[in-house]
Symmetry: C2
Subunit: 203 residues, 2 copies
């Protein structure tokens, strides 16, 4: 197999790298630099028609796109430690939390980043007012997440899961748009310190 | 159990209704009108803090939010017909296609709808230029979907899955923003006629 990866600034490749690090899995990787625009090459589009990373190609030629689908493939092969849920019901709860984090936290952060972070203005048209509004949406959601983390160590409950990886990777990249964890968000601050001190955070 | 539903115009409640209709499942439902703003009531926010629909409350009080998590719960209980994939590998492929449809088709359509459909201007601030740009993004993606559907009946392959429900429900709602399936998109047109003629489409 071969995992097409990018370490020049994309969010979802790091999501999968952290997932693999948590499972202590080594996978052959090939770098496709988003900064250099290599993801938009005709060659890479044969693998990932929407020019998205990461992409996993299996030995039989099957292509798996989408971070969570790639994680589910590896979770099936290497269930321990479980990062998508521990039993059927827990899998539903983890999926709920992951999706809430993706749509309610990552998405407005990403939209704010793409539309307000000045260095990106050379790459695409930015809609600044919209980006600023999305920044406020994300900030309100982070404040709510601080309350949700009251009394539990991780986003989906007692265990570290892909819901944590989603917020962790979003924050580490999109903070470039000016996001910060406020001093008074004690639970969120504690959570961020905990996840950032895991060895996988270096991935 | 009780499924909180909305039939006044939301996308995700219909996604779950079609899913349940495909499985011929009847679930007790309670209507929460988004048009009347009932989803933002203090009472409903105790169930769904982000004021989102649908929401499923189990008899033991467990709350399941997020359309796909609700579908996975029902798929576990009633596996036939499988709408999330037929075996471990097929589940990965269906998840990939569903996510691609959600982020690449539904999302730009939804952003175009929210930001350009005039009647919504009374409900929130619209960013028209951004909405028009998202309309172009979605149109290009629909054109690509037409090519992807060449030689196969459904989005994830041989069987109708949640990837189809995602595009079907997106198109039926967000077409209000002016989306149409062009005459030359023969595969997409054929697909849309097929999915729309299933009994579940009335849900």
């Amino acid at each position: 197999m071969l995992l097409y990866d990018d370490t020049t600034g994309a969010n979802n490749p790091r999501f999968v790298r952290i997932f693999l690090a948590e499972k202590n899995l080594k996978v052959p990787m090939k770098q496709v630099s988003i900064m250099k625009g290599e993801h938009k090459s005709e060659e890479f589009r044969k693998i990932s028609p929407s020019a998205k990373l990461p992409a996993l190609v299996l030995d039989d030629g099957t292509v798996i796109l989408e971070s969570v689908a790639i994680c589910r493939y590896f979770e099936n092969l290497h269930p321990e430690p479980p990062l998508l849920g521990r039993d059927a019901m827990d899998k539903v709860i983890v999926e709920m939390w992951h999706r809430r984090m993706e749509f309610e936290v990552m998405l407005p952060m990403a939209l704010a980043f793409r539309n307000t972070f000045s260095p990106l203005a050379t790459m695409w048209k930015q809609y600044k007012d919209f980006g600023e509004q999305q920044k406020r949406v994300a900030d309100r959601r982070l404040e709510m997440l601080d309350r949700e983390l009251e009394g539990r160590p991780f986003i989906a409950g007692e265990h570290y899961t892909i819901a944590d990886i989603r917020v962790q990777t979003s924050f580490d990249l999109f903070r470039l748009a000016g996001f910060e964890i406020k001093e008074e968000w004690i639970n969120l601050k504690q959570w961020y310190e905990t996840v950032s001190s895991r060895p996988s955070a270096k991935a």
